[in-house]
């Protein structure tokens, strides 16, 4: 456990979209060097949280500090500088479709550095090797499977050696093999590169096998926080339902509807 200050500090965050509150008084601390999972039912705003952390949207009130920088105080240029220290893996990879795999990974290098072609080539191939796709360097994104494009996107996310890696739902739609690959990569990269990882997901089983810390969000607040094993025995109905994958509980099975028999009878009554 790292004794240095948290890499991400969110205090008392409020955020609403068209008068619908998403977060109310949110407090989250992400420790350096760990893999932190952010979980919750669909629609709790997990992706929104990522956008707040990366500065893509602004909070209504409260503070967000990333690597010691207060996001609200940053100008656009400074925000861009901060973003170079982060890497983000999008749900569908988000590779640039008109560039090859090699060019996609080389993209940040070409845009931000003046490195020679030879150096760029070495860096790109190294990162591709780390994700196991060095042989696919000349392929186009359209030719890749879902799992492969996500791995390329991962190579791209680490090519500038960021301090913080953010994964937005990396397990969605993957077959068991690709899933295993991604899990392995998340753990290995975090440890070998000495970075911090934030994984947003709702795959409890998958993420529990690699995460060091878990935050469970529901109703705009943190309802549970701890290690994966701590969460399994957390004394809360909400947590139990989510972790156990139970069909009914604090999140009801039935969508609010009028009385069942009443509705059936009134239908036949109209005949």
């Amino acid at each position: 456990m790292n004794q240095a200050s948290p890499i991400v500090e969110i205090r008392n965050l409020d955020y609403a979209v068209s008068n619908r509150p998403i977060f109310v008084g949110l407090d989250i601390e992400i420790q350096r060097g760990l893999i932190t999972a952010v979980m919750g039912p669909s629609g709790t705003g997990k992706t929104t949280l990522l956008r707040l952390i990366t500065g893509q949207v602004q909070a209504d009130s409260g503070s967000i500090e990333v690597a010691g920088e207060n996001l609200r105080a940053l100008s656009r240029a400074k925000l861009y500088v901060l973003r170079r220290r982060m890497g983000m893996l999008f749900q569908n990879g988000a590779l640039l479709t008109d560039l090859s795999v090699f060019e996609n990974v080389a993209f940040p290098l070409r845009e931000h550095t003046n490195l020679s072609e030879r150096l760029i080539r070495q860096l790109v191939l190294t990162k591709l090797q780390a994700v196991g796709l060095r042989g696919a360097a000349e392929m186009m994104p359209a030719e890749l499977s879902g799992g492969m494009s996500r791995r390329v996107a991962l190579a791209r996310a680490i090519v500038m050696d960021p301090e913080l890696l953010i994964y937005d739902e990396p397990f969605v739609g993957l077959d068991p093999i690709s899933l295993g690959v991604i899990l392995r990569l998340i753990r290995r990269l975090n440890d070998t590169l000495g970075i911090t990882s934030i994984v947003v997901s709702h795959d409890v089983k998958e993420i529990s096998s690699v995460a060091d810390q878990v935050f469970l969000l529901s109703g705009g607040k943190v309802v549970a926080h701890g290690t994966p094993s701590e969460l399994k025995s957390y004394p809360s109905e909400t947590v139990k339902q989510f972790v156990g994958g139970l069909a009914d509980g604090p999140v009801p099975f039935h969508f609010p509807a009028p009385d069942y028999f009443g509705e059936l009878l009134s239908r036949s009554g109209d005949l």
Partner: protein, 255 residues
């Protein structure tokens, strides 16, 4: 009473939209100098908008020119002035048909391509990914497309007009027997540089308008499949109306 309020609402909405679009245009212009340094991106977009539209422009130019030749001949020979066919065809094409028809075709082919490309990038998070990689998507992806369209339009319109003139010549001289010498000499005697300039100005203005609408719709498309589809349809429809409206303004201003 409700209808009036709705009318007022749609009016203010349109005005707001217009303001947003103009702001976007200013942002594009402000980013243009830096984008020009990445000429490879712009050149790729010139290919995208221009070279790939050449075939449809040339085909349309031939047919429009030939129809112009037919109709022009039919009308002029009633007054015994068939010799003026070259002049009529050239003026019609250079001042009006060239810029306008090219712009409409451009909106349909290149405009939709631009809108759907940007819309798709938006829908697949490529734009967000770029922002996350600290690359300004406006500079990298939008401005090159905008400039590519603006540069390609006048060139396309010129090609259209030239091919159209030859199409009219084909019909007039080869089919209908108008004297080739008179066809060209009367044209030369009456078409002025001012006419050609008006055509160039028009196609430039149309280029700006069409490219702007296309990239705006694509960039701000709702990131879903229907959103991209809507963006493309809206691009063509809005472009067409704007082109015709601007055509009136420019023609009136010059005459």
């Amino acid at each position: 009473m409700n209808a009036l309020r709705e009318l007022w609402q749609s009016l203010t909405d349109s005005l707001e939209k217009l303001g947003a679009v103009i702001q976007f245009l200013l942002r594009l212009i402000a980013n243009s100098p830096r984008a020009l340094m990445r000429f490879d991106l712009i050149s790729q977009q010139i290919f995208n908008c221009g070279a790939l539209s050449l075939v449809i422009i040339m085909l349309s130019g031939v047919f429009v020119g030939m129809v112009l030749g037919l109709q022009g001949y039919d009308l002029l020979q009633r007054f015994g002035s068939e010799e003026a066919l070259g002049e009529a065809a050239a003026i019609g094409l250079v001042k009006e048909l060239g810029p306008v028809v090219t712009a409409l075709l451009f909106a349909g082919r290149a405009g939709t391509a631009l809108a759907s490309e940007l819309g798709l990038m938006r829908a697949t998070d490529q734009i967000s990914a770029m922002e996350m990689m600290a690359v300004d998507p406006i500079q990298r992806v939008v401005v090159p497309r905008f400039l590519g369209g603006v540069i390609a339009m006048p060139l396309l319109a010129a090609v259209f007009s030239v091919i159209g003139i030859f199409g009219a010549q084909l019909v007039g001289v080869q089919f209908k027997g108008v004297d080739a010498g008179s066809f060209w000499s009367q044209m030369r005697a009456s078409v002025t540089l001012a006419d050609v300039n008006m055509g160039i100005v028009k196609s430039l203005v149309f280029g700006v308008a069409c490219s702007l609408i296309a990239v705006y719709q694509g960039y701000y498309a709702t990131p879903t499949a229907e959103g991209v589809g809507r963006a493309t349809t809206y691009t063509v429809v809005t472009s067409a109306v704007v082109i015709l409206f601007l055509d009136y303004l420019i023609t009136a201003a010059f005459l």
